[in-house]
Amino acid sequence: MSLVLIIALVLVVLVGTGLGLVVSRRRGRSGLLEPPSPAPVRPAPAPVIAPDAEAGPEPEPAQALEPEPEAAPEPEPQPEPEPEPRVVERPRFRDRLSKARNALSGYMGAIGGRSRIDAETWDELEEALILADVGMAATQDLLEHLRSQVKAQGLGTGEELLGALKAELTSRLGDFDRELHFSEAEGPTVWLFVGVNGVGKTTTIGKLGAREVAAGHRVIMAAGDTFRAAAAEQLGMWAERSGAELVRGNEGGDPSAVIFDGVAAAAARGADLVLGDTAGRLHTKTNLMEELRKVRRVADQGAGTVTEVLLVLDATTGQNGLVQAQQFTDAVELTGVVLTKLDGSAKGGIVIAIHEQLGIPVKAVGLGEGIDDLVPFDPAEFVDALFS
């Protein structure tokens, strides 16, 4: 397209929208400055304040995320986590469930108790799905599907409807490989952690590192975030807590060099797993995404093999989560998602669209800030936590 044509087009657009708008905008501005009434809203039933007391002592063994090829067949019991600044409870999906039950009972209780499926039932269902961040498109699609099921199977009660919804959601979350894989080849396995700022990448590495160390692996954490203040110190503290080793570079240095060094150090010291931290970056920043591509490439170039590239996603994220997953997978081919902060009141419903549209499975879930607060993802439990 010629420059001449571009300029001409720009001109026409500007005249059409821009200059035209000036007029109406000026006009529009005059009458709008009366302050809004801060009518507070109450969209959801009061948040449940429930630090699940009964959860802590439960002796459920932490499920190993990965059956390892060479280590002991029995997952070893985890070492005493070193004392945390506050008591770390061990939330599980089930505990979340009880919270969700309370939080959603306004909707789900009402729907489940209905003896007929009427317009109000559908409205409430829509509301509950949207409030769980499932998203407009997926919600409409689900409702449509359920409508046809109601007809085809003659579902009559709210309870049957909820049952159908859960079944459908669980099947949409589908049969995915949710394991974290080790490399078959010689040399260390590399797992990379990517995502936007502040989602929990570094913390997840700390938790996973502890688990893999406990499972008998020798783990190196590579501080590929050379940008954020004290990022390497933060990872260093996690390495110490979890019994992993830290490899770090210079502040402001090349992240791919740090990852490369981490892999080289692992090979030299006989460590079999490298957990590569990266700086948080918004998927819209092309230069930073380019940097990440390079990290991914370089991580594979030395003695190691990248088997997992995990997008860390904050459960409070709304519809932007899908865009994030799309952009990150375009750049570095994600193998899975770690959904963090599901211990809060947010439901993380956007991962349904991520499964469906991108085929990227959630592999682990963060349920707190403590070293033990990471569990494997379970579709049925996740769905239960959304709608119980």
């Binding site: 001449v4 001109l11 302050p35 809004p36 630090p51 407009m136 409070t316 709304g318 439901k347």
Partner: protein
């Protein structure tokens, strides 16, 4: 799926257009679309409900403007109501008569409290104050070290000690008094709204320092949960304002509207990057446009407003579509356009620009070259390029430091452009309306992959200028360029979700 509101509106607007009044049914149709758009932008379900009710009432009650068609008027109302809700009173930092002025930062994990404590410190410094940063996050690994690093970068002192958060906050205040710092910013650990223990801790911190300002720091990417969070923090701490972070991404930022509705206090600052200078007072009108999917339209308009002579430019555009556009006009308009900054930047801000145009590699040196060639033409040549024969080409080339083939090429391109514009302009408005409606139905599939089709409207002074569907698959799943009514609220097209850079 992330269609801009204006896209969604195309269908509804088509029906509204031309009618003299907004009927209740019209408004309800439009409200359905607005509701969808707001929910897609992550505005909380209940907030959307209330908001729609307000807009609906206004839309029905308001007198119809002559300048806008009904659909445009609805968008105008939505935009105004959104701006009004997001805005309202702006925050004015009043410094405590008995220094120091104390600011408390609170929010969920990872929302940006520590970074924005530092950003605020920088801002206070720029206001001639002497801030002290207090690191009361003793929980997250290396949180204090992070704050100290940022403090060093800013040359702002940082206080912390390994006691407990409430004690640190109190001691920080004492330290400020002792060392004569007049602003204290207390960074706290991230906490969940449903974590009773930690919510109680932050309440105790607040009691210990009795802050003049308590800010909730919240991530612009937050979904429906923003309301729960804002409610809980507001209940516990009585917020004075909100700091909205990570606005440099492409999230639509509907959470801001939710929080504003719940808290009723101003969104004071906007954080637009990881660097400490990427921080500014909050502009409600920009965010309103963004939530509606109207991109950087407002910024663009502001610039255009400063630069262009409205009448002159309109006349030039009209000549363009009538096939009367000359190199002289082109040169004039190019001068104006240059004042808006690099062309690629302008294109980036323009919603509804087809992909071919947006992605065109634009070299501003190329613009200079074109300009030089045109300047070497005589006025007669500029009006009638057919005069330019081989020997004139050589002369022009020499005068502009170019070569004759380039001169020939430019003239050829100019003629092609004129032809294309005239074709667009010449299309009858009836035919056009029809083809647009059709295009609207075949959502996204577009009018058969044409690059120039779609049609444009004759620029008679009354009729609106219209642009063609250049690329129906343009970012944002749009259907080409927007309907560009002249005294028009814009209805900017698809794809304009991008945030302003920096």
């Amino acid at each position: 799926m992330f269609e801009a509101l204006s896209d969604r509106f195309e269908g509804v607007l088509g029906r509204l257009r031309g009618k003299g009044r907004l009927t209740e049914a019209d408004v309800d149709d439009a409200m359905r679309e607005i509701r969808l758009a707001l929910l897609e932008a992550d505005v909380n379900f209940t907030v959307v409900k209330n908001f729609i009710a307000r807009v609906r009432e206004r839309a029905l009650g308001e007198e119809l403007s002559k300048a806008l068609n009904p659909g445009q008027q609805v968008i105008k109302i939505v935009n105004e109501e959104l701006t009004r809700t997001l805005g309202g009173e702006t925050i004015r930092i009043a410094y405590s008569a008995k220094p120091p002025t104390v600011v408390l930062m609170a929010g969920l994990q990872g929302s940006g409290k520590t970074t924005n404590s530092a950003k605020l410190a920088r801002w206070f410094k720029s206001q001639g104050r002497h801030p002290l940063l207090v690191g009361a996050d003793l929980q997250r690994p290396a949180a204090v070290e992070q704050l100290r690093t940022l403090g060093r970068q800013l040359e702002v002192p940082v206080f912390s000690e390994a006691t407990d958060p409430v004690a640190v906050a109190a001691a920080g205040l004492a330290e400020a008094r002792r060392t004569g710092r007049d602003v204290v910013i207390v960074d706290t650990a991230g906490r969940l709204a449903i974590d009773a223990e930690l919510m109680d801790e932050v309440r105790r911190i607040s009691e210990a320092v009795d802050p003049n300002y308590t800010f909730l720091v919240i991530d612009a990417m937050t979904g429906q949960d923003a309301v729960t969070t804002a409610e809980a923090f507001h209940q516990t701490l009585e917020l004075d304002g909100v700091i909205l972070t990570k606005l440099d991404g492409d999230a639509r930022g509907g959470a801001a509207l939710s929080v504003k509705e719940v808290v009723g206090r101003p969104i004071a600052f906007a954080s637009t990057g990881e660097k400490l200078d990427e921080f500014d007072l909050f502009h409600p009108d920009r965010l309103a446009g963004r939530i509606l999917g109207m991109g950087d339209m407002l910024t663009l308009i502001e610039k255009a407003e400063q630069v262009f002579e409205k009448e002159e430019t309109e006349a030039a555009a009209a000549r363009l579509l009538e096939g009367q556009f000359t190199f002289e006009d082109f040169l004039d308009q190019m001068q104006q356009l240059k004042k808006m900054g690099p062309l690629s930047g302008v294109l980036g801000m323009m919603p509804g620009v087809p992909k071919e145009v947006r992605n065109a590699q634009i070299d501003d040196r190329e613009i200079a070259r074109v300009e030089a060639i045109i300047r070497s033409m005589t006025p007669a040549e500029r009006r009638d390029p057919d005069l330019i024969d081989q020997s004139r080409r050589v002369r022009i080339a020499r005068g502009s430091g170019s070569d004759p083939t380039r001169v020939a090429e430019l003239i050829k391109q100019f003629k092609e452009m004129s032809k294309m514009m005239k074709r667009m302009g010449g299309m009858g408005s009836k035919k056009l309306a029809k083809s647009r409606r059709k295009a609207g139905k075949s959502k996204g599939k577009g009018p058969g992959g044409r690059t120039t089709g779609g049609g444009r409207v004759a620029p008679s002074t009354k009729a609106p200028l219209r642009l063609p569907n250049l690329d129906p698959r343009a970012p944002g799943a749009g259907r080409g360029l927007p309907d560009l009514g002249l005294p028009d609220l814009g209805l900017p097209g698809p794809g304009g979700v991008g945030p302003g850079r920096g």
